[in-house]
Structure formats: structure tokens, C-alpha cells
């Protein structure tokens, strides 16, 4: 919990060593179900990164300007959820207008992201660790990028696994969770480099 961590360090830390998925196990639900398909995984990862970055920054603003001055910490959960839902809605509309092709590829996932616990989880981390603006920005982008990286890795691994003779009982969720466990252990290998939690 060091508020003086440099934003760049934080960026790399949140992608690799404190990967929100593999170190904190947040955002598992859509991680497991969407990683079946590489194209969807790419789209979802992109969407999560976008949403994560934007909502982090806005939530930080709300935190500093409204919640803390008025002493409403006990309401922070509700307020953050409302902010996330509203931002996702606005983002969906703007993407549809600006690029219908992008909306077709990715807009379907946006409502799904509202309930992705990684978003709320990262925001709460930001609150607990009392990050400043630049730290929030890099942490938000990094967490999203880390989530994206993890789901791309998992979908590629699953593609290979599909061709292998997995025992019937482990097919699907079973082997996926085991794989995630291995991935998490591999990522722990990074933790010696940078530690932020």
C-alpha cells in the first residue's frame, strides 16, 4: 500500500505481477465462458480495457469530489456501481454512432461488463490504496490491459487443449480452471520484480 508508487511502475505491475485476474481472481465469470472463442475474447478484452480506464478515472473524480468531502464512504459501493452502469450506457451509444462496425463487434459485450466484478474490484483497490490521478489512470489502464492479456492467453491455450484428449469429466470448465491455476502460478514468477500489494 504505497501511495508513492510511480505510475509507470504501477502500469507494469497491474498488467503482470498484480494481474487482476490471475493474482486477484476478479472477473472470472466472463473470463471462463468467453475464452472459448478467440475472436470474442479479443473483443471483450478490448471492451474491458476501455471501460476499466474510463470508469476508474470518473470514479476517482467522484471519490475525491463528492464521497470524501462529504464523508459518505459507506455509500461508495452504490455510487461506484451507478457510475459504472451509466458510463457503460453512454459508451455504448457513442460507439454505435461513431463506428457501427466496432459496435457490432464489441457493443454486445458492453452490458456484460457492467457486472464484471473486476471493474468494481479495481475501483475499490484504487480507493483503499488512495491513489492519485496519474496512479489511477495507469492502474485502470493496466488492470484492463492485464485482463485482456490474460483472456487472450487463456483462449489460445484452450484452442490447443480442444485438440487434446481431455478426460470427459474435466472437459470445459474443469480443465479451464486447472489451466487458470497454472497460469496464475506462472505469473507469480513475476512478483519478485515489482510488488505493489
Amino acid at each position: 500500500m504505497s501511495p508513492l508508487v510511480h505510475p509507470i511502475t504501477l502500469l507494469f505491475a497491474s498488467i503482470f505481477t498484480s494481474n487482476i485476474l490471475l493474482a486477484n481472481f476478479l472477473g472470472m465469470c466472463s473470463f471462463i465462458s468467453i475464452s472459448k472463442d478467440q475472436k470474442s475474447s479479443f473483443g471483450l478484452g478490448l471492451a474491458v480495457t476501455l471501460v476499466m480506464t474510463i470508469t476508474m478515472v470518473v470514479s476517482w473524480a467522484v471519490l475525491k469530489l463528492v464521497i470524501e468531502p462529504l464523508g459518505l464512504d459507506y455509500l461508495s459501493f452504490i455510487i461506484f456501481i451507478i457510475v459504472i452502469a451509466a458510463i457503460v450506457q453512454i459508451l455504448e451509444m457513442v460507439i454505435d454512432r461513431v463506428s457501427p462496425a466496432l459496435y457490432m463487434a464489441l457493443g454486445i459485450f458492453l452490458p456484460l461488463i457492467t457486472v464484471n466484478c473486476a471493474i468494481l474490484g479495481a475501483i475499490l483497490f484504487m480507493q483503499i490504496r488512495n491513489y492519485n490521478f496519474w496512479q489511477t489512470l495507469s492502474f485502470g489502464f493496466g488492470s484492463g490491459a492485464g485482463w485482456w492479456l490474460a483472456i487472450m492467453l487463456l483462449s489460445s491455450i484452450r484452442k490447443k487443449i480442444d485438440a487434446a484428449p481431455v478426460p470427459a469429466g474435466l472437459k470445459g470448465p474443469g480443465i479451464t480452471i486447472i489451466t487458470i491455476g497454472f497460469m496464475a502460478m506462472a505469473f507469480i514468477g513475476f512478483s519478485g520484480m515489482l510488488s505493489v500489494q
Partner: protein, 147 residues
């Protein structure tokens, strides 16, 4: 297991009144993935292969088409009636358009009804349709009819 977007939209299209009057799900309330998984299990247990069964049914349909809409006897075992209607139906998964034909095959007491779309759903998506659907290709019945 949460259904991803493609499966969910396919599931919605399979409900009655969307693409066809009765839909593809019958009165089955299980999620789509469960229906497919259960039928895949049955296929394996009965030693059936999806492509093989689809090929056989396609062959019967082609022979039945010679009747030009009237029932004809094929191989001395089957009573096949091939009917067609105007227009085309899209696959609920969005990967193709199929002629609205309807092939009914009878062998002994067993009777199945299928179309080009049913065969595509069977072959590519391993979907036999839900319990209670009049167009369900139940694996047990398929085994008795085909082999």
C-alpha cells in the same frame, strides 16, 4: 454455464413463434448447451456419429424427393414423404439459409420429420432439438430408423 452472445441469440431464435410456429425447443426448459451436451452423450453411448446420421437422413430425403411431394417407399423399409414450401429459413445460429422442405420418414412404428435446416443443426451444431418438439431427432429413435 453462462451462454455467450451467439448461443443466447440462437436460443432466442429457437423459441416458438420466432422462426417457425412451434420453434425448435418443444417444452424443454434446459439451457441450450445442456440439451446439446446431453444429446452428444447419447450419441456417443449409442455409437452414432453425427455426420454419418446426417448423411443417411440426407440420402433418404433425396430418394424421397423422387415422389415429388407424395409418399414413396424406399428400400422396402421406409415410407418417405418430401414436401416443400415457398421461402427459406435462416439457421438460428446465423450461418446459412435453408429451403423450407419437410421430409417425413416412417419405419415400423417410428416416425421422424426433418428439413434441410434440421440436418444442418444436427451435423454442424450437434443439435437434435428439444424434448417435446415435433421435429426432434431423438438419438434413440435415430438409431432404430437409420441402422
Amino acid at each position: 454455464m453462462k451462454m455467450n452472445f451467439d448461443e443466447r441469440s440462437a436460443y432466442e431464435k429457437m423459441k416458438s413463434g420466432v422462426l417457425t410456429s412451434t420453434g425448435f425447443l418443444g417444452h424443454d426448459t434446459r439451457p441450450l448447451t445442456d440439451i446439446i451436451a446431453a444429446d452428444e452423450e447419447l450419441f456417443k453411448a449409442l455409437g452414432l456419429d453425427f455426420d454419418q446420421v446426417a448423411d443417411r437422413l440426407q440420402e433418404l430425403a433425396a430418394r424421397g424427393a423422387e415422389g415429388l411431394g407424395e409418399p414413396i417407399t424406399v428400400d422396402g423399409l421406409y415410407l418417405v414423404k418430401s414436401d416443400e414450401a415457398r421461402g427459406r429459413l435462416p439457421c438460428p445460429y446465423g450461418d446459412g439459409l435453408y429451403h423450407k422442405n419437410s421430409v417425413s420418414v416412417e419405419r415400423g412404428d417410428d416416425r421422424i420429420i426433418y428439413s434441410d435446416l434440421s440436418l444442418h443443426l444436427l451435423r454442424v451444431h450437434h443439435f437434435c432439438q428439444g424434448q417435446g418438439s415435433p421435429f426432434r431427432l431423438d438419438p434413440v429413435v435415430l438409431k432404430r430408423i437409420c441402422f
